[in-house]
Subunit: 235 residues, 2 copies
DNA sequence: ACAAAAGTGTTGCTCATACACCCATGT
DNA sequence: ACATGGGTGTATGAGCAACACTTTTGT
């Protein structure tokens, strides 16, 4: 016995919802699709799974091909498998969301792959069901970030507290109290203050911090309650 | 253009991790696989996706075929896609976990499909990577149930507070304070007390409750913190 | 000197925990 | 009458949210 007979084989793709943060706005990385159908329309980064790779590997490979980055934070999201979602041929898509430090490669990308960052609130029309994927990713992002320190994956190695706060305010489309926010953040023990200050964004200058990576690993699965009254977020 | 050329098509299956609760122990529903390879070995309920159904539909269909039940609570878990996970032919498996009120069909199942309930702590060896799937499902169950009232899906329409407590104690392998637990539970407003009592499990008898379904829907996504200090659970 | 943003301090209140007692009933 | 499990009450402390002021520095 070498095959399961009588069963249907299906194309399997991965699609990546890639978030980035430039210090001011939360953004989404999109590309112009390079092949038919829907060629040149905006699309998530994706591709088909190849014979000898698992889905995570495929997602990493595609991410590397299109951004040159490796070791990016990535998480499996959901499978989109409606039989008619791709008009050409049935394709099941496994989605991943990924976080990228936007500074690490902002320059190199546009040239080679027609990739572009879009503010989350000003995304263009997307092909197939990619908009539903983005919506789900936004929800999942809100959900996870309320409990776990994943948003740090969007920041450079050194960052300031006002920066993180802006990021959270972006994700939840809300305004947070800086006093309570910084206290909560510091109380996690995740942050190590540096001596330098960021003088670019204010006159006084804000201290740089970096993550304590051992504590970060420990607390990654803990429930940290970064956001006050998260139940109110569903309204 | 009618097909994507040069791409590999792959078998796609769904596998269901089905939990049940008999009032005393949390259990897992397993079947003896009906075909080669690994015929007659214990396995999760699964099957291949057919041409005109989405993954959720496939999972529902398989669940119905094997248990006769419809409208079961089900949630997509993770995709298992290692190229070599199935020795016969590459198969990607989309996993679902499902909750069943064990009383609703305990009788009818064993006969037709060689299905059997196993206490979670005494599960047999499973085929392929099914044990990893079960492990992940247990983790996800713990995670979700700490925040959302999903465990009610395991209970019959009418249940008592001591029953729910036993269920939570099973899931988290811990002992909870009954006074704090019942207060927390009642404070959600999810429960409506009935006049009847369950006289089977104690002399005094415990009040039956049923879910307030409108509040249940509202609060399903809320963070309810059923479990004290959930961070300690990872130890 | 003034504006703009960073940083720190205090207080009241809510909620979670820890813990003790009474109640109803079958034997 | 007593053992068993069900149900209610209270006090303490930790943590969260609301709010005000001082500090630094570029212009």
């Amino acid at each position: 016995m070498t095959r399961y007979s009588k069963q249907t084989r299906i194309l399997v793709a991965v699609d990546c919802i890639i978030f980035g943060f430039d210090g001011e706005l939360l953004k989404l990385l999109l590309i112009q699709r390079g092949f038919e159908p829907e060629k040149n329309k905006w699309s998530l980064m994706g591709g088909f799974i190849e014979p000898n790779e698992g889905p995570e590997e495929a997602a990493s490979r595609i991410l590397k091909q299109l951004t040159g980055l490796e070791g990016v934070y990535m998480e499996q999201m959901d499978v989109f498998g409606e039989p008619k979602r791709d008009p050409i041929e049935r394709t099941i898509s496994i989605t991943y969301f990924a976080f990228i430090d936007i500074n690490k490669y902002e320059q190199q990308l546009s040239e080679e792959y027609h990739a572009e960052w879009f503010p989350l609130k000003k995304t263009p029309k997307l092909i197939f069901d990619h908009e539903a994927m983005v919506e789900m990713a936004k929800e999942k992002l809100k959900y996870k970030a309320a409990l776990h320190p994943i948003l740090f994956e969007l920041l450079p190695e050194k960052f300031t507290i006002p920066q993180i706060q802006t990021l959270y305010e972006n994700v939840y489309d809300t305004i947070l109290d800086k006093r309570n926010f910084s206290r909560k953040l510091l109380s996690t023990g995740l942050l190590i203050r540096q001596n330098e200050k960021d003088k670019e964004n204010s006159k006084k200058g804000a201290y740089f911090y970096r993550l304590d990576s051992s504590i970060y690993k420990d607390k990654f699965q803990a429930f940290l309650n970064f956001i006050p009254n998260p139940q109110a977020l569903n309204s």
